[in-house]
Symmetry: C2
Subunit: 327 residues, 2 copies
C-alpha cells in the first residue's frame, strides 16, 4: 500500500505538502498540486484509515444498531443506510442485538472501542439505554424518540388516520384492535391515530396488545376466536396481521369474507399472502437515507436543526378488507 511518504519522494516534496494537497489546504502552488495528485492516482494511494483515525480521532465509520434483521422491517432500512453512508464514504458497522439487551450493550461497547464517528440506533426498548448519554458522538435514533436525540420515523398518527378513514369508507363500524406493544411510541401512535380519527360511528369492541413479532398471546387468541361481531381487525403491523390471518384460517374463519384485517408497514410478501394485505406503506428507504444524512451533517459540525423528522405514509389498498353495507 502506497503511503503519503511514497508520494512525497516520488514528487520530490515533503510529506507535509502532500498532506496539504490531499486535504485541500490552500498553501501549495498549483503545479506541485497537480504533480502530487497525479502521483497519488498513479500509485493508487488510499489513506490509511487507522493512521488518520489516530491523528484526527475520526474513523469515517458509523455504527448501525438494530434489534433484529430477521424482522422484515429492517433489511430495507439497513440497505438504505449502507448505501447512503457509502455515498458519503462512510463505512457501516452492523450490530444485531437479536432482541437481547446484553447483545445491545455488548455491541455498543464494540462500536465504542472501534471509535465509530456516530451511531444510528433503533433501540430494543421504548427509549435508548442510558449508556448512550456518555457518548460524545452524534446519534440518530430510528423509530424510538429519546430525550435530546434526533429521531426519524414515519407519521404513525397519519397512518392510523388513513386506516380509520378507510374503515369507514368500506362500511366497517365495529372493529377490534390488535395493537403492538404500547410502551413503544411507534405502536401507541398508530393506535391513537386510529382511535382519535375514528368518528363516533366506529365502535371499538376490543383492544389487545401483542409484540411486533406477531406471536399471539392467550388474550389475542381469545379475542380472535370470539371476535365479538367485529367486521374489521386493525393489526399493529403486517407481521401481526399475517399471524392473525393464519390463525383465523386454521380455525376455519376466512379473511376477508368473515372478517377484514389491515396491517401496517407494507413489508415484502404482504402482496403475496392470501388475501393480499391492505396496509400502510412507510418509506423505509427514505428513512434510512435521512438518518444517514442527519448523521453526516452532524458529523461535519452542523447543529441538527430538526429534532424529529417525520415521513408521510400511504394507504395500500389490497384484498384483506371487504366492503360491507351500502355506499
Amino acid at each position: 500500500m502506497a503511503t503519503v511518504k511514497d508520494i512525497a519522494t516520488a514528487v520530490g516534496v515533503s510529506v507535509a505538502t502532500v498532506s496539504n494537497v490531499l486535504n485541500g489546504r490552500p498553501n501549495v502552488g498549483h503545479v506541485i498540486r497537480k504533480k502530487v495528485l497525479h502521483a497519488a492516482k498513479q500509485l493508487g494511494y488510499r489513506p490509511n484509515r487507522a493512521a488518520q483515525a489516530m491523528r484526527t480521532g475520526r474513523t469515517r465509520a458509523i455504527g448501525l444498531v438494530l434489534p433484529d434483521l430477521t424482522n422484515p422491517f429492517f433489511p430495507e432500512l439497513a440497505q438504505a443506510v449502507e448505501n447512503t453512508a457509502r455515498s458519503f464514504g462512510l463505512l457501516v458497522c452492523l450490530i444485531d442485538s437479536q432482541g437481547r439487551v446484553d447483545g445491545e450493550s455488548d455491541g455498543f461497547a464494540l462500536l465504542m472501542q472501534h471509535a465509530v464517528d456516530g451511531v444510528i440506533w433503533c433501540p430494543l426498548g421504548p427509549r435508548p439505554p442510558a449508556a448512550l448519554k456518555k457518548l460524545d458522538r452524534p446519534v440518530v435514533l430510528i423509530d424510538r424518540p429519546g430525550p435530546g436525540y434526533a429521531v426519524v420515523h414515519s407519521n404513525y398518527v397519519m397512518g392510523g388516520e388513513l386506516l380509520a378513514q378507510h374503515a369507514l369508507r368500506m362500511g366497517h363500524t365495529r372493529v377490534g384492535l390488535l395493537c403492538g406493544p404500547q410502551d413503544l411510541e411507534s405502536a401507541r401512535q398508530r393506535r391513537d391515530g386510529f382511535v382519535n380519527a375514528a368518528p363516533d360511528e366506529i365502535e371499538i369492541a376490543w383492544e389487545v396488545n401483542v409484540g411486533f413479532d406477531g406471536v399471539l398471546t392467550p388474550q389475542a387468541v381469545d379475542a380472535l376466536k370470539r371476535r365479538r361481531n367485529v367486521t374489521l381487525i386493525v393489526a399493529g403491523n403486517d407481521v401481526i396481521a399475517i399471524s392473525a390471518i393464519r390463525f383465523l384460517s386454521e380455525h376455519g374463519i376466512n379473511v376477508p369474507e368473515d372478517v377484514s384485517i389491515t396491517g401496517f408497514d407494507n413489508i415484502r410478501w404482504t402482496d403475496v399472502v392470501t388475501p393480499r394485505l391492505t396496509t400502510i406503506a412507510q418509506p423505509l428507504g427514505a428513512i434510512g437515507k435521512k438518518a444517514v444524512e442527519l448523521m453526516h451533517g452532524s458529523m461535519s459540525g452542523e447543529k441538527i436543526s430538526a429534532r424529529r423528522t417525520i415521513f408521510d405514509v400511504t394507504l395500500i389498498e389490497r384484498d384483506s378488507v371487504r366492503r360491507i353495507g351500502r355506499r
Copy 2:
C-alpha cells in the same frame, strides 16, 4: 479515554510492561500483573483500535459483502455472521451492493481502505471478482465457490435429491423445472441433484430458467400458462415458487389442486403464503456461523483445511404438493 500510559503511571511501571500484561506475554511477575489488570479495570481501559491497527496491521474488523439484504435469504445469514463475529470480538462491516457490480467494487474498496482483517463474501456473479486476488487477507465465500478460496454452502445436490424422492413418493411423474440462473453453481446443483436423482418414471416436460429474485421472464410466463400436463413444478427457490403461485392464482389456476409446486430455502413466510410451501430448509444460521469460524481460524494463522464446507439440508413438507395416484 484511558490509555496504556495512564495505567503505567498509575501502577508505577513502564508502558512496555503494561502492554506485556495486556497481551498476556509471560515476562512479567504475577504481583505486577495483578496490579496492572486491576488498574486497567479501574480506569475502564479500552485499547484504542486505531493505534493497535496502525501498529499491528490488524483491525479486528471483518467485511461482509452481500448482494441484496432485501432478499430474505440474507438477513438470517447476516445476523448469524454478526453474532458469531461479535463473540470473537470482531466487528462486522456491512456492504450491500444492491445487485450492482460497481456497488460491489466500491464497497470492496471501502473495506480495503479500512483494512478489515478478512472478508466474508457472497459475490453477485458466479465467481468472485478478480480484484479479490490481490487481497492478502483471508476470504470466505458464501454460496459461490472460487478458485483457491474457502467456501461454505448447503448441500444443494442433496436438496434436489430429496425433492425428487418426494415427488415420486407423492406420485408425480411429469414435472416442469423453473430453475434459478444456471451460471450460479447453487442453482445448477439444485437442478442437477433433482434431475440425476429422478428415476426414469419421472419425466421432465420442460425446463425454464429465471433469476433468483423471482421476476418471471416471458418464457416462464409461457411455461406457467401452458404447463403441458405437468403435475408438479419444481422452483429454484422460494421466491420463484411464491412468484409462480401468485401468477397462477391470478390466472385461475390453483395450487396444489391444479398443479403442485416446491420451493427451496425455507425463507420466512413460506409457511404463511397460501398454500404453505413445501420446500428445502437450509441451515442459514449454521452457515453464517461456520463462515466466521473459518475466517477467525484463518486470521489466527491456521491454514484452512476444508476448502469446501457443505451443510445438510432437510425437506419441509407442507401443503403445496398434492398426493396423486395410489400409494
